[in-house]
Symmetry: C2
Subunit: 399 residues, 2 copies
Amino acid sequence: MRRCYFDHVATNPLHPEVLDVMMPYFKEDFGNPLSIYDLGTSAREAIEKARGQVAGLINAKPQAIVFTSSGAEANNFALRGIAFARQNQGKHAIVSKVEHHSILNSARFLEKSGFVVTYLPVDKHGIVDPDTVKKSINKETVLISVTHASSEIGSIEPIREIAQIAKEHRVTLHADGVATTGNIPVDVKKLGVDLYSMAAHQFYGPKGAGALYVKEGTRIAPLIYGGIQEGGRRAGTENVPAIVGMGKAAEIAAQELPGRMEHCRKLRDALIDSVLKVPNVHLTGHPEKRLPHHSSFVVEFIEGEAMLLMLSMKGILSASGSACSSRALKSSPVLLSLGVPSALAQGSIVFSLGTDNSMEDINYFIEEFPQVVKKLRDMSPFSSGWGQGGEGDKCYTGG
Amino acid sequence: MRRCYFDHVATNPLHPEVLDVMMPYFKEDFGNPLSIYDLGTSAREAIEKARGQVAGLINAKPQAIVFTSSGAEANNFALRGIAFARQNQGKHAIVSKVEHHSILNSARFLEKSGFVVTYLPVDKHGIVDPDTVKKSINKETVLISVTHASSEIGSIEPIREIAQIAKEHRVTLHADGVATTGNIPVDVKKLGVDLYSMAAHQFYGPKGAGALYVKEGTRIAPLIYGGIQEGGRRAGTENVPAIVGMGKAAEIAAQELPGRMEHCRKLRDALIDSVLKVPNVHLTGHPEKRLPHHSSFVVEFIEGEAMLLMLSMKGILSASGSACSSRALKSSPVLLSLGVPSALAQGSIVFSLGTDNSMEDINYFIEEFPQVVKKLRDMSPFSSGWGQGGEGDKCYTGG
């Protein structure tokens, strides 16, 4: 049976060249980067090389890159680090409703710590209106966090416009770039952000390595206190092999990005065309302003979980939303914020493509997907409608 | 030239069998553990196997193990997680003065967050007196954190006695087990701790994997918020290869521990005997109650940094204290807490041994070390004493 890995927003396979450069740091070059002898020095130099490579991918200065263990850690670090550093200036933060759990749950923590948080609404495509940001700012506002693109719906947010507003009001702006870094061009200077989160395994790098871009001059409190690693901003013995791998993955992504985007967009567009031919299936997220490798849908009268399982039996591997919530069995707050009804949000599915996919994968998918939907709908008690006033196939027109 | 790696408290080389079990998770088994298809399931099963292996090493239940990215993260998680969860019951915490920076700096953060922290004194060997702990507890006390053993001085603390006191007063007890786990027998049930930190690279596992033991029923707030990983206690895509490696390293450590301890102790004792034959060199930490692979000294009239460099030119790789502070060029607060004068604390050196060392290494060291000390003292302006009242070779008698 064919295997089509269509879940690149959950995680990516490691680029073989990336693994190659990591290997010496599992073997002979095992030193602690803080040690002053040769073994330590070579590990430290490897980390600094990686810092330059990651900085290069997003047009940052190397010293602005702080390595973390994951995108989630970078997001927690950004929100709590800025909130703690600036709490004497004000205790109001703004986040969008289409953020990842690591942002939304960090925001909840801030609320428990005495902050007031505004959750920005989005339009039916999941896009934040910069005017709403402007209106939400008050004298107490110290922090705004808006994702560059949601991995659930793929929509790309107007970060540049939001950054101008943030700058005018001297509010620190963080953008979650976990889904974007290495997948679309990112230039932190042009974007105008103060902080930007990344995760290596989203661009064919290893798990266990992430980073936070912290613009020079931005005061931030550490999330992990301890030794002097990362300029005192993030303690803990550095995960040298993973950091080295992240650097290499960033370097390769910078080189291959245009080709990757073209490859994925072509496959993705063919996939979207075929899926939307199935009745009562709606695209979620913005039709154009979206990640080139990303497609997401709600399928009426079907539970996402059942669809995932049946597709996986056909070798088609996908997700019903964020991997971090895929086993939580709750309606996605991101989809609800778009106005998708709760029952329909249960039928969400995300197909995210990568360099390892081919048009043969898409053709196989195009054959199998309609059959899976038909089979599940034949078994569904809701197949003739949601049972509420006979709204049937007209219950959702948002996408 | 011979290379003697005597810095196992900084980091360990990876056990070859550990790397072998990690490799599939860098290649074909690259899935996200939260994904519901086969690739996810196999990653998840691998993590649960590792959880059991780590639990087995310290006699814990698997569900009490929360994986983190490092020992430092586990320490931060423990202190802030308990402080936040229990702050309504009281805002007083107790830590010892011989803690790692990740504990001491977390304690400082708690102070900034409205907590009062008592820093427990130690005796000249760096040992905490359980009676002092008892006297420090008040109605506000919610948390005690004492290291099981300091990696700087090797002394093993009376955790069991402290645990009894903590239990009587319903205070949560955390022990930093980063230096002990996999190096001496650890039984969290016998110790009676509520929380216990570990780091894989301290027992021939990979960097990038640590864990916190959280006794069943202990309420703790996450340090990293987000998805539902680790039972909602630690978010972020799991570093599957590193976790798998930690599990294997724990399994091997459990099997090999008696042999490792005997091997290291024998070499270490020979090393200590030879070092103490050099005039004006003092052992730091407890002479008997110490980690079997650990020896630490202060060498009068010499700066530790110079000693490290000259030893490294001879292929002898060591540290002047905690790796996390080795480049900070400050007197170690741990040594100062033992009553070591500040100037003398600059001459600190730690030799920590491992399975990769042999008696040939020690014999080589025994030849070289006295010459290095002599050479440095010949160059030192302090070689005839510290220049303060001619205390000379009698300035320190603590060790």
